[in-house]
Each structure stands twice: as C-alpha cells, then as structure tokens.
Amino acid sequence: MKYPKLREIKEAVTALIQGPYTTKFPFAPHTPAPNFRGKPIPDEKECIGCGACALVCPATAIEIIDDKAAASRELIWHYDLCIFCGQCERLCTTEKGVKLSNTEFDLATSDRKTLFSGIKKELIMCQMCDEIIAPKDQILWTAKKLEHMAFGNYMVFSALLNNLGIAKFVSKFGVSAVKRLDFFKVLCPKCRRQSHLIDEYGDSHFESAK
C-alpha cells in the first residue's frame, strides 16, 4: 500500500479512538472558555439607569423607554440584536451595571419577542415643566461621588433627603411659569437656568414670569 493511503488509515484509526473534536451540544452540556462573551445580563441593583450603554452599543441593541406619566424608565437589552461585543459592560458608568455571562450562550428560540431582559428605574421629573431630569438612582449615585459637595445642589440634596424618607417629592406642580421662588424645587436644567436668571436679573426679562 502506498504511503498516502497509510496516512489516511492512521488518521482514521486515531479519529475512531479519539472521537469527534466537537462537543455533543445540545445533547450534552457545553462549557465555553472563561473569557467567553455571552448574554449581557443587567444588574437591577448596580445599574443606575443612566443610559450610557445605549449610546455606545454598536448594534443599538439597548432600548430605553421613558414613561413620563408613570415617571419610570425601562432599559431593555434585545438579545436578537446584540452582537455580544461587551461594550456595554466595558463602558458602563458604574462599571457593574451589566455583565456578559460566560456560561449562557444558548439563546436559540422560535419566538424572538422573548429575547430580551430589562430593568425598570424610577425617574425624577421636573416639578415645573414635567421634563425628565434623571433616574433617581443616578442622582443618588452622583451624590455619593460628590460626597459633602452634594449639598451644594438643591436637586441632588433633595433627592438624598427623599431617599432617607425625610422629604417627599411632590411629583408635579402642574405646568406653569417659572418664578424666582421655584429655586427650591426639583427642576430640569432648562427651568433651573431660567429661575437662576430671574434671581439675577429680575422677572421683567422673562416672558413666562409675567
């Protein structure tokens, strides 16, 4: 027998003894490498709902749904769009808000509507114009970072008090004109700027204050 044939036979025998290289998945479990990038799983506790991940996600797989009436924000990771790049984990504001699982890879399903996981966050709304300011958790997280300086900002400060149960948020005063008085309300940046300017230059410059 010629050498090329012998080589084939040798390989065939080794293959017979060693068995196939691939794993038997789905009939037997498969363990990916420790570095494996699988399903991104958001962490309800560590995520502050800032939405930075949705801005960096190259596949726009992270959806943010803001419900103004209920003052809540939903962050949804769509696994059917996700490319498992790990950018959301890498660039997360808190660095712990979402983690790519290294074991969960089997996402196959016949109904892609089930392919998501989401978390809900409470939003702080402007008491004057009903605009979204930020998720409450994000403001509290900022307060923690600012430490004692947090008390220099009325909104951060009141969010802290609210969190301690000392003060209550009046979610809405109704849409009305911003006045100097409104300095001590939880305001969106636009209304805050306006009330600051009123404080500085008087009402007369402002259409809304008249």
Partner: protein, 406 residues
C-alpha cells in the same frame, strides 16, 4: 464556422449569484463548448449593504464592530485595516503589547481561514478526507480564538489605540501548547498535498496564472504569491508586530491550483511561527499596557492596510474633527482576485472550473446555486450539486484509471 454557428455551439453555465451563506455573491457565466470553457463573464456587486455609509453614521469606536461584520471569515482583517487607517489619520502610536496581540489575532484568523479553504478545496475535488481533516484541525484554532478573545469569530479585539482584551502572562503557556499541537497536523497536510497522486493529477497545471498575468491583473495575497510575485503587506509596509518577529513570505512559481494550495499550507506554518514569536514578545512587555487611550480624532485622512488571508485589504478614513468618520472606503482582496478567473478558467474543462474558481478563495457557496442552461432550449441540464459531482467524478475516474491526466 461562421460566428453565428459558433454561438449556437456554446452553452452558458450561470453560477450564482444568490446564496444566503456567501460572503460575496458573485455571478459567473461560463461559456462552454462541450467540456471546454471558452469564455467567462463575472459580475460582482450583488451585496451592497451600505456598510461605508453606515460607518459614517457611527462613532469611530463603533465602526470597528461594524467592519468586523463585513465578512465572517475575515472578521479580524477589516477592523485591523480600519484601526490602522484611523491611527494613520491621528498619528497614534500603540503600545508594543497591543501590537503583539493584534498580530496574534491576525495570524489565528489566517490559520482558520486557510484551513477552511483547504477543506473546501478537498471537498470540490471529491477528496472528502481532506475536508474532514482540515475542518477538524480548524477547531483547535477557533478554540484558541475563543480562549483569547471570548468568541470563535468576531473577536471584538481591535480598538483605535490598542486592543480591548489583554492576554494574561499566565495564559501564554497554554496558548503556546495549543499552537504547538497545530504543527503536526499542518505538516501532515503539507505531506498530504505534496505526495498524493490524486491531488497532483487534479491540481497540477490546472488554472495557471503566469507571473505577468498576475501582475497585469493586480492580484493579491496567496493567489499572486503562488505565481511568483513576492508581495505581502506584512513585510512591505510593516504594521503591528510583523517586523518584530521572525517569519518569511512564501512564494512559489507555477501559479496553478497546486501552488496556491502549497502557498496557503506553508503560510499556515509561518503563521504559527509568528504567533509563537508574538507570545515570546508578550512576555517582555508589561501586562495591562494595551491601550494608547485615544481621546479624540482630528481632521485628516488616513489609510490602513492589512494582509488578510485572501490578500491585502485596504481602508481609507477621512475625519473632519468630529467623532464620526466623514468618509470611509473599503476595498476587499477578493474584489481584485475574482476577475483573474477570466484567465485561469479559460481553456480548462467544466469539471476543473469548480476548483479553479475556488482557488482564489472566494466564498464558494455560490456553486451550489449553479445551473447549466442550454441557450437554445433554455432547459436546465446541470444544477449546482451536479458541478461538484462532476468535479468529484473526475477524481474517481483518475483513481480508477478511466481518465488520464495529460
């Protein structure tokens, strides 16, 4: 014979263009007279996905992930060329450790891409043992990829200014061992192609591209190196760690399918050498120094090249000082290589066409969409499977001695 009568004698075999598995849908129109191919028409451009336009609507950082998806097999080549282009634009110098890691990923990709090609080539020849072998030994390469990057393909490693994930020094020994284990099967492939009489009969002297033709048609990669033209971006315009490790450009002279296979197999052995050199290099650099921390990209122009498994891939990026590219242009190697079939396939037979068209390593799933249509009766004679079957039949004929190679 008048021109008209001649026309009647030709049969047109359309190959392509649509197949969901293909990376680049191509449409080949083989004009045949009996068994002999006399003319070949090639049409490209069926798969315009608007990637360049999409790139202009994404941040520089996100584009790396987008271009990764230009091609499933070359999923390191495009981001590699892209980051080279942006780094050229912004004059960024990347840390040595990142250079080594980039080269490792680039070479791992060449390994698994060439093994994939080798398997397919074996399949088209009807030598399915080679197919099974090559794809079996492709698995450990993909396992190394998964171990380093977190995925078998689509590595998400390339980042402007460096790489996204480090290779820990503790891991180097394990990866080294996995690379070592690749050498034995690669040597076996070298032997299998070198001394197998059937492979010789099917590939030697088939689909020849001379040196001059290769230069005239501006071919790239293993296709041109098999014709005796020694070009390789990795050596000619060094980037990443390619000038920091020891390796050589593989060149052969004959330009036939056999030489193209040989170039790819020998290149794989060089790739293992590069990877090992890079792993050595990693030990000399500090863990964690993998990113130049780029803050902004100025206005300007940059070009980036990378020697992909199929040849040089070229990216051009123009920035206008914002965080998105103003213009992004991509040229993939198959775009240059595929037209060369116009010379290499002519004069051969239909049964050789399958392997000749595959020799430049376009994604070959298109063959399965082939149909032979009689131009007079518009009747289908051959399907895609038939073309592969024809090619495989010839191999069987050679083995049983029915058909003698010239």
């Amino acid at each position: 014979m008048s021109e008209n009568e001649k026309d009647k004698k030709t049969t047109i075999i359309p190959i392509g263009p649509y197949h969901p598995l293909q990376e680049e849908p191509e449409f080949f129109e083989l004009h045949v007279e009996g068994e002999k191919v006399i003319k070949l028409d090639i049409t490209l451009g069926y798969n315009h996905r608007g990637i360049e336009k999409m790139a202009e609507s994404m941040h520089y950082d996100q584009v790396a992930f987008l271009v990764e998806r230009v091609c499933g097999i070359c999923s390191a080549s495009h981001p590699f060329a892209y980051v080279n282009a942006v780094e050229d634009l912004a004059d960024i110098v990347i840390p040595d450790r990142a250079k080594y890691i980039r080269s490792i990923i680039g070479e791992l990709e060449r390994l698994h891409s060439h093994l994939l090609w080798l398997g397919l080539a074996g399949h088209f020849l009807g030598y399915n043992t080679v197919w099974m072998w090559a794809w079996k030994y492709r698995e450990p390469v993909l396992d190394i990829c998964e171990r380093i990057t977190g995925n078998r393909n689509h590595y998400a490693m390339f980042k402007i200014g460096g790489v996204r994930k480090d290779i820990l020094n503790a891991d180097i020994a394990g990866i080294w061992k996995m690379c070592d284990e690749l050498i034995k099967p690669l040597e076996m492939f070298r032997g299998a192609v070198m001394d197998d009489p059937v492979i010789h009969a099917r590939t030697k002297g088939v689909g020849i591209l001379t040196k001059q033709e290769a230069i005239d048609w501006c071919l790239l990669g293993p296709t041109v190196r098999a014709s005796g033209v020694a070009i390789d971006v990795r050596r000619d315009d060094p980037y990443a760690a390619y000038n920091m490790v020891d390796w050589k450009v593989i060149v052969t002279e004959n330009g036939d399918v056999f030489d193209k296979a040989m170039v790819r197999i020998l290149e794989m052995l060089e790739s293992v050498k590069i990877i090992k050199g890079c792993l050595e290099g990693l030990k000399k650099t500090k863990e964690g120094e993998i990113d130049a921390k780029v803050k902004s990209i100025p206005a300007g122009e940059g070009i980036g090249r990378h020697e992909a498994p199929r040849g040089e891939v070229f990216h051009y990026v123009r920035g206008d000082g914002t965080n998105r590219p103003a213009r992004h242009k991509i040229r993939a190697p198959s775009y240059m290589n595929v037209p060369s079939n116009q010379i290499s396939a002519i004069g051969g037979t239909i049964s050789d066409a399958a392997i000749v068209l595959a020799a430049v390593d376009p994604c070959y799933c298109c063959t399965e969409r082939c149909a032979v249509i009689d131009t007079r009766t518009k009747k289908k004679i051959l399907s895609g499977e038939d073309l592969v079957r024809l090619s495989q039949q010839r191999t069987k004929d050679i083995i049983s001695g029915v058909w003698k190679p010239k």
